[in-house]
Amino acid sequence: MRYLVPLLLSTLVWWILTEAAQAWVVGVPVILVSTWVAVRLQDTDSGSAPTHRLNWFAVPRFALFFLWQSLQAGLDVAKRTLKPVPDINPGTLYYYTSIPHGTARYFFGAIVGLFPGTLCTEFSEDTDQLVLHVLDTDVDIALDCRRLEREIERLFKLPAADQQGRPA
């Protein structure tokens, strides 16, 4: 099972890259090596932080959510840029996340930078606090982040959190 997902993904990527040219003489060894590397790297990766498994059935839903949000993010930035005076009101948000420590939280930290008006700047391994930079402090960013958190919980099959975040 540990090898299956990397194997399938590697095969898919190779198939896409070669555009179905049936280059399996070269492809099979390459796919095997990349699968082995993927598993090795995952072993090294899960040293301190727990690894969360992806729920592949939740991926389409998350993809749609992400597409919609990145459209919003792009339009939002464009609107602010094209005003005669750039319409930004940047500030810092100390955000308490309910996502447990591990892969899912790292995923949150990285992807939050592509969502409207947020950018992760500081990541603490010990507390639940993230430091986000927001483009406009007047917008209720925390609400959007909650929504993103719920989607990520669904994506990673995490139990729904009960703790309410409290932005500073």
Binding site: D76, P86, P90, G113, F123, D126
Partner: protein, 120 residues
């Protein structure tokens, strides 16, 4: 169909220009990262969407989408890394040009409760 494609590709290019414009107009480093990541992400997405109907085969179309996904992953990580670096080294203010308003200047005013553990 071709007109829709032209529209999408032009819109995509427009977003790239807007992202660059944001990079030039905003005057603190964080906001610049905001502008460039989000606008370019959408711009590239629109470009890919516009070219997609011209793909000759299914894998070719998938390849275009794969390019977009890889760029997304890279830009999300890169934006975090740059922002994190600026945060750690307190480089948030650029030397020239004052910020338009100082009301929300939280970075330096508030004490940072997290311990500053850096790669030092």
């Amino acid at each position: 169909m071709i007109y829709v494609q032209i529209l999408l590709v032009s819109l995509g290019c427009l977003f790239f220009i807007v992202g660059t414009l944001g990079l030039l107009r905003f005057d603190d480093a964080y906001s610049r990262i905001h502008a460039i990541t989000k606008a370019d992400n959408l711009g590239l997405g629109l470009l890919v969407l516009g070219i997609l109907p011209s793909a000759l085969s299914v894998p070719q179309g998938l390849k275009l989408i794969l390019i977009w996904v890889l760029v997304l992953a890279a830009s999300a990580t890169a934006s975090y890394l740059i922002a994190h670096y600026i945060k750690q080294h307190q480089l948030s203010k650029l030397p020239h040009g004052a910020r338009p308003d100082t009301t929300a200047d939280g970075q330096d005013a508030e004490p940072d409760p997290t311990n500053e553990r850096g790669p030092q």
